[in-house]
């Protein structure tokens, strides 16, 4: 095709694009995926029966603050990497901040708990399932983000994939709190983070292949 004809057809019927197009589209992908994840929980795992009661206690909010702040950081990183010129990424180490805060809380927990109960507190009742469930619930959100990326222009595909995986994992963990009955900080620090990390690694693995444009 002739370049002039191409330009004519491209500029035929130009749709306006808003200032926050990148953020909106990413939000749409994440929320769309999260709705599917919530449906999956309600159908297969079920919400925790004492959810309303738990939401009045501190443990639930400890978990949510961790996963929500991690999601926010990861989505910010994804939005940066969705642009061809992401600029300096040095400030992204701030994503580690929630992990540090939770680790501090976990340390406090260990100090105030007798040593004989440490193992039970660390493993909870669901440590064998938790990381895998977080990873599984991250899949719909990751697919949602892949949809978002169809209008993005990432140039560092592996980093963008990792950020999208991290965002999907952290948001899936947020959703998983609706089911998970665990209460200890070191449980969340270990097993939630492991699931989130698995999702991020998967994202880094498939990013260069799936995010090409």
């Amino acid at each position: 095709m002739n370049t002039d004809d191409l330009i004519a057809s491209l500029s035929d019927g130009v749709q306006p694009v808003g200032r926050h197009a990148v953020g909106l589209r990413l939000a749409l992908g994440v929320i769309g995926g999260a709705v599917v994840s919530i449906l999956l929980i309600s159908v297969t795992l079920g919400f925790r029966p004492d959810l309303w009661l738990a939401m009045q206690g501190p443990a639930f909010w400890m978990k949510w603050s961790y996963t929500v702040s991690l999601s926010a950081g990861a989505i910010y990183a994804t939005a940066r990497l969705a642009r061809p010129d992401p600029g300096s990424l040095r400030r992204l180490w701030l994503i580690a901040l929630p992990v540090l805060v939770l680790a501090t809380l976990g340390l406090g927990e260990l100090i105030t708990t007798p040593r004989s109960e440490w193992l039970a507190m660390w493993l909870g009742h669901t440590w064998t399932k938790c990381p895998w469930l977080v990873l599984a619930l991250a899949m719909p959100i990751f697919v949602g983000l892949l949809w978002s990326f169809r209008q993005m222009a990432p140039t560092r595909l592996r980093a963008a994939g990792a950020a999208a995986g991290l965002a999907a994992g952290a948001f899936a963990a947020t959703v998983y709190c609706l089911h998970c009955p665990e209460v200890s900080a070191i449980f969340v620090l270990t097993w939630y983070s492991l699931g989130i990390l698995l999702a991020a690694s998967l994202g880094a693995l498939v990013g260069p292949r799936l995010l090409r444009w």
């Binding site: 191409l6 330009i7 035929d12 197009a21 061809p84 209008q151 140039t155």
Partner: protein
């Protein structure tokens, strides 16, 4: 004269706001920029270059939402152009060390030099035509004073004086901007 950053950015923002004419002007102005970008760094034939230019134009169009209006347009454009070229290398399975390639391209400084050229264009436009022409011929295009004088149909001393006065005026202008 090549379109400058401000002009390209204005067209880009016009296109983002739904102005089809501005969008078309932008894409047309990008064609020569992209052609010289790819020609400088690839040994591909004209058809391959044109394919890449077209692919880049399509990417600029379909992914224009990723342009942040507060940032430099040229940086966004050349990041896309560079990505498309590396993708092309990868598709052709040429053994190019991709990791090093990007640094190499950045180090070559094409973007900086073309942004700088746009700036110079802006500055020269503020001078009288004779001075601007003399500076462009002798200092940018690399012609000798005699050649410049011949081309412009004026005397050699006239060229020298024009260059001198023009540069002095530019220096004063830049110093004034910094204050």
């Amino acid at each position: 004269m090549r379109a400058n950053e401000d002009q390209l950015r204005a067209w880009m923002i016009g296109g983002l706001d739904g102005d089809a004419a501005a969008h078309a002007s932008l894409l047309r102005a990008l064609v020569p920029l992209l052609r010289s970008f790819y020609r400088r760094r690839m040994s591909a034939g004209p058809d391959d270059i044109e394919d890449l230019v077209q692919e880049t134009l399509i990417a600029v169009h379909t992914r224009r939402g990723t342009y942040d209006r507060d940032r430099v347009f040229a940086a966004w454009l050349f990041a896309i152009a560079r990505y498309k070229m590396i993708d092309q290398f990868r598709r052709n399975r040429r053994t190019v060390p991709i990791e090093g390639l990007e640094d190499m391209l950045v180090a070559e400084g094409f973007e900086e030099s073309s942004i700088a050229r746009m700036d110079i264009g802006d500055l020269l436009a503020t001078l009288p035509a004779k001075q601007a022409g003399a500076i462009r011929a002798t200092r940018i295009d690399g012609a000798s004073v005699a050649e410049a004088a011949n081309a412009a149909g004026i005397g050699e001393s006239d060229v020298k004086v024009s260059v001198h006065r023009g540069l002095k005026a530019l220096a004063a202008r830049i110093a004034g901007q910094r204050l």
